[in-house]
């Protein structure tokens, strides 16, 4: 059913709109048109590979009966390189003019962005010495995208004072691309630099996790509307000072005979701390698991910035079609 909608709606859209696609004008290799083409190719490719990885085990099981798992390592090996190429090319797109551009002139515009990205990546390499290659690469591309977006804004505005006179379309590109850079930082922090720890804690005992201390105060039975739970009171310590209290729960729903772990998340805006109450032990002790995902909030912030960019893009399109309504039949501009 979901598959039918997911496949049917795009096909219907294509059938409806295909007739309005016309071959465009002449353009050169170094042009915004090529950029858009490359963008579509890379994003479609990533989507197609994700579909292959999702459907392959299902089809293989149906055809041969062989059971297979396609997990995160497959996507790291296939989709991530594609996204890296996309991120590498992305800042060029808005800087290249339509139809005919000059690659070396664009590269000259981006030399500061490249320099900043290299410096930040090398800084990250030195700072987090046993660093993972994937994390350093993500930091490089994150900085490259943000610096590329700033370069684009600066080139269009000319000065800081003129920034507010920029068109919505200029903001759309800069926010969309810069937002992806912010998201890259979040993804790098949350996957590569995350720390985790698990320990068996008796009440009063403390476990360390990435600069925090977690002290189990007590665990008690509580009854909710449709569940029973073990609810822990855990004090979060930072440099020996009490920072706050979290209450992770382990819930059990008698009606369904299932349970869930109800973890606590504390965020500083720069990193997220997850505390999970895992298993009980005799004598009131509990296995407590904790995770610190640095920069994880940036994943959300980056996505919001990208959505804002998308909103600006729609706004720019609406304005453009309103401006050209005199020339274009109303039906076409409404469909745009």
């Amino acid at each position: 059913m979901i598959m039918a909608v997911a496949i049917g709606v795009p096909l219907a859209l294509y059938a409806w709109r295909a007739s309005s696609m016309t071959p465009g004008a002449r353009f050169e290799v170094a042009s915004r048109e090529t950029g858009i083409l490359a963008n579509n190719f890379l994003l479609t490719g990533a989507a197609a590979i994700t579909m292959l990885g999702t459907l392959y085990p299902v089809l293989l099981d149906a055809v041969t009966g062989t059971k297979l798992s396609v997990g995160p390592p497959y996507y790291v090996a296939t989709v991530i390189p594609l996204m890296a190429v996309l991120a590498l090319l992305m800042p060029f797109g808005p800087l290249l003019p339509w139809r005919r551009g000059n690659l070396s002139a664009t590269l000259r515009l981006l030399r500061w962005a490249l320099l900043v990205a290299l410096v930040v990546a090398i800084g990250a390499l030195v700072l987090f010495s046993p660093g993972s290659l994937l994390g350093i690469v993500a930091v490089f591309f994150g900085t490259w995208l943000i610096a590329g977006a700033v370069t684009d804004l600066y080139r269009r505005a000319g000065s800081l004072r003129m920034l507010r006179y920029l068109s919505v379309a200029a903001w759309a590109a800069a926010l969309g691309h810069g937002g992806l850079g912010v998201l890259a930082f979040g993804a790098a922090g949350a996957t590569v630099w995350k720390s985790e720890n698990a320990a068996i804690l008796r009440p009063g005992e403390t476990m360390p996790i990435a600069g925090y201390g977690l002290r189990l105060e007590r665990a008690e039975q509580v009854t909710g509307p449709n569940y029973q739970a073990d609810r822990a009171t855990i004090t979060v310590l930072r440099n020996g000072r009490e920072e706050g209290v979290v209450h992770p729960e382990k819930r059990f729903y008698p009606a369904e005979q299932t349970g869930t772990t109800f973890s606590s998340i504390r965020t500083t805006g720069l990193s997220d701390l997850h505390v999970v109450l895992a298993e009980p032990r005799e004598g009131g002790a509990w296995v407590v698991r904790a995770y610190v995902n640095p920069l994880a909030p940036f994943i959300w912030i980056g996505a919001v910035i990208m959505a804002l960019g998308g909103f600006c893009g729609v706004l720019a399109r609406l304005r453009r079609s309103r401006a050209s309504r005199v020339a274009v039949p109303a039906a076409v501009s409404a469909a745009e």
Binding site: L68, Y74, G259, V287
Partner: protein
């Protein structure tokens, strides 16, 4: 489709089922280096009962048993490869998060490469054709 899949995966991560029966209790290895190896290994192995959850994340009793099995075997001096091949023998390649490269997975592994070559070809042909087009009389300047 993939986004839906992601949401489903997220749901299972957030609401990991806890079964009434508990598996082997958690007992980390004393040597931090060996414990780190166990952690890495259990992330690369799939819990046979769960929706694409690793042994590391799952709360299922079997996952807990497998966590203990991995630690016992690491403590006994077995290599990561030994442990993996033992588990593949017992549960099949299904247990590996990274599918092996075999005849029946050639398309899974080499499909993306074919796809990229085909896509790059389409892009190249489109650009080559666009360069040969005559200059349009009217400019469609949008930027």
């Amino acid at each position: 489709m993939s986004r839906l899949f992601g949401l489903v995966a997220l749901f299972f991560v957030l609401a990991s089922p806890v079964f009434a029966a508990e598996g082997a209790p958690f007992q980390p290895l004393a040597d931090p280096a060996l414990e780190a190896r166990a952690r890495t290994l259990q992330k690369e192995l799939r819990c046979p009962f769960c929706e694409l959850q690793s042994i590391d994340e799952s709360n299922a009793p079997l996952a807990a048993d497998l966590r203990k099995l991995i630690r016992d075997r690491i403590a006994a001096g077995e290599s990561d490869e030994d442990i993996k091949s033992y588990l593949v023998e017992r549960y099949g390649a299904f247990i590996l998060m990274q599918p092996p490269v075999r005849t029946d997975t050639y398309f899974l592994w080499f499909g993306p490469i074919l796809l990229l070559i085909a896509g790059a070809g389409i892009v190249a042909v489109t650009v080559a054709r666009a360069r040969k087009r005559p200059e349009a009389a009217e400019l469609e300047s949008e930027s």
